[in-house]
Amino acid sequence: MKLFLLTLLNGLTLAALYFLVASGFTLVFGLMRNVNLAHGSLYLLGAYIGYDVADFSGSWFLGVAAGFVSMAAAGLLLQVLVFRHMEGQDLRQTLVTIGISIVLADLMLAIWGGTTYQFEPPEWLYGATRMPLVRAYPTYRLALLGTAVVIGIALWLFLNRTRVGMMIRAGVDDREMLSATGINVHLVFAITFAIGAGLAGFAGVVGGTALSIAPGEDVRYLLASLVVVIVGGMGSVAGAAIGALLIGLAEQFGLAYSPTYGVVYTFLIMVLVLAVRPQGIMGKKA
């Protein structure tokens, strides 16, 4: 029973992390049809930059902010300098993001080396919280869970209650019509890409604190984002939440109860969803 509850909590926190990474991915994809395969690299780069800032300033929160802001800026640059010039060419954009991720991964290895970094979150987030049934659980992970819920609600409010959010949703549905109504689509694209990339950087610092940061994490979170949005439905933030929950729980329960076949569950969920609902659980028909 205790193992079950602990696994459940672990699965939930992992799902929270996956949601943070995948929501940016799905947002960018939904609006721009851009499969950003460099999303994992943005996660890792944000984590490294956040680590350096936190290490230099001594403030973990500055690190988190740096992770978000630096990657948002990087996303903005990518959109303005590269993707804007190849709109509508899905395959080419995807190939470009692959190229970028290769170069970034190699440069990060050159700068930060192969060592594993560990963040030091503030005192009050460190340690354990007493809980019924499982006795104690790391405070930080509970905070991570809370953060993901807050970010999720904030994203939902942003998309559904603000003017820019309305533009983004309109862009997801029909790009041409949006631009025909006199809205600067490029600006909307740039904002979306910045938010998506920023969320990846944010997740990098927050997730890097919960686990650790090391080379190879970029691929791991890229895979997670891919599977989460394939399962949840591309372009839907709610879908990302559902997908993240399914995948996070499947991964942790797989790890706890049948270690060598853990990945298979993730894979099976993906295949099952594709077989029944190719567009994903919350996805719209293309």
Partner: protein
């Protein structure tokens, strides 16, 4: 939809092309007699193997418009199956003789390719890239975690080609000729299929799936069959690859090598079967000699930038560059212009 579309259709009148093939074949056959062991195996055979695996991607992407990132995974599956069914130094294999283990490996890998096809035909375009990449990465993590079948992190070592007809196939020259034979067969197969009814239907589906479906062609059946054929080619490459390396481990099928295959195919050009081999040669040369230009550790930056430059400036890779340069270099002959 993609840069792949140009080419392919033209170039079917082969009469004018044969002398070129003959010269190329003679050069390839004579190559190991003038080259050292390193150049024969590490450059020659290795390029051919990477070329075969990339050729399977070219077949899918060039003729079918389906970009799959799981081709190396299929090759890796063949390699693993060969190691598991055959003989390896870990003492974990079933110890089957090669004439049973090799076909078994190829059949299983081809079945896996069909399965991947069945899963991913439910998606299109960039979605296919995402699904196949997810499958490739999942298989990598699976082999790394699984010790009961795939021997986890260490994988298998000591997988060698069998001695046959008194020849040691691990020697430079026999191994090179083995790779060359398989490469020529695969190349001819892809070329032949590209001109067959099936290949023409594939290309039509690539250009307009809806119209073909209205005409009564089953789009999905064609695509799955294309996956199967490409899987067979990739499996052959995988068997050669495991013999070349002598070992297979999760590292051989991780994201890096998976993406390398895509890079090779795109850099070489996806419009004709020769493209992947060109790309593989350039890739292997860069891999071996980029050390002299810059730090060995930064090889990925070099190859990544080369790939980016290719995608940004020449959508059809080296073949595209050649098509652009040809009119300037070669005086125009009547009817020789391909596309």
């Amino acid at each position: 939809m993609n840069p792949v579309r140009a080419g392919v259709q033209g170039k079917t009148t082969a009469v004018g092309v044969y002398p070129g093939y003959a010269v190329l074949l003679i050069l390839l056959l004579a190559y190991p007699w003038v080259a050292s062991g390193f150049w024969t195996v590490q450059v020659g055979a290795y390029s051919l193997i990477l070329g075969i695996i990339s050729l399977s991607l070219m077949f899918l992407a060039g003729y079918g418009g389906v970009v799959s990132l799981a081709q190396l995974t299929i090759a890796g599956c063949a390699g693993y199956m060969l190691a598991i069914h055959g003989v390896n130094s870990a003492g974990l294999g079933l110890g089957w003789p090669w004439w049973a283990a090799v076909p078994m490996a190829i059949v299983i890998a081809t079945l896996m390719a069909t399965l991947i096809g069945l899963i991913s035909v439910r998606t299109e375009g960039i979605y296919t890239i995402m699904i196949t990449l997810a499958i490739a990465v999942a298989f990598f993590y699976f082999t790394r975690q699984n010790y009961t079948v795939f021997n986890g992190f260490t994988g298998f070592a000591g997988v060698e080609p069998p001695p046959l007809f008194g020849i040691n196939w691990r020697d430079a020259m026999p191994f090179y000729y083995l790779c060359l034979t398989v490469a020529v067969l695969c190349y001819s197969l892809v070329l032949y299929l590209g001109r067959s009814n099936f290949g023409i239907a594939m290309q039509a589906i690539r250009d307009n799936p809806r119209r073909m479906s209205t005409l009564g062609f089953s789009v999905n059946t064609h695509r799955v069959l294309a996956y199967t054929i490409a899987g067979f080619v990739a499996a052959l490459g995988g068997v050669l690859s495991v013999w070349f390396n002598g070992r297979i481990s999760p590292g051989s099928i991780s994201t890096g090598p998976v993406i390398d295959i895509l890079i090779i195919a795109v850099v070489g050009g996806l419009s004709r079967p020769i493209g992947p081999f060109l790309g593989a040669l350039v890739f292997v040369l860069l891999e071996n000699f980029a050390i002299d230009l810059i730090d060995r550790d930064r090889f990925n930056t070099v190859i990544g930038v080369a790939f980016l430059a290719m995608v940004l400036f020449s959508p059809d890779g080296l073949l595209g560059l050649w098509e652009k340069l040809k009119p300037r270099l070669v005086p125009r002959r009547e009817g020789s212009a391909g596309t």
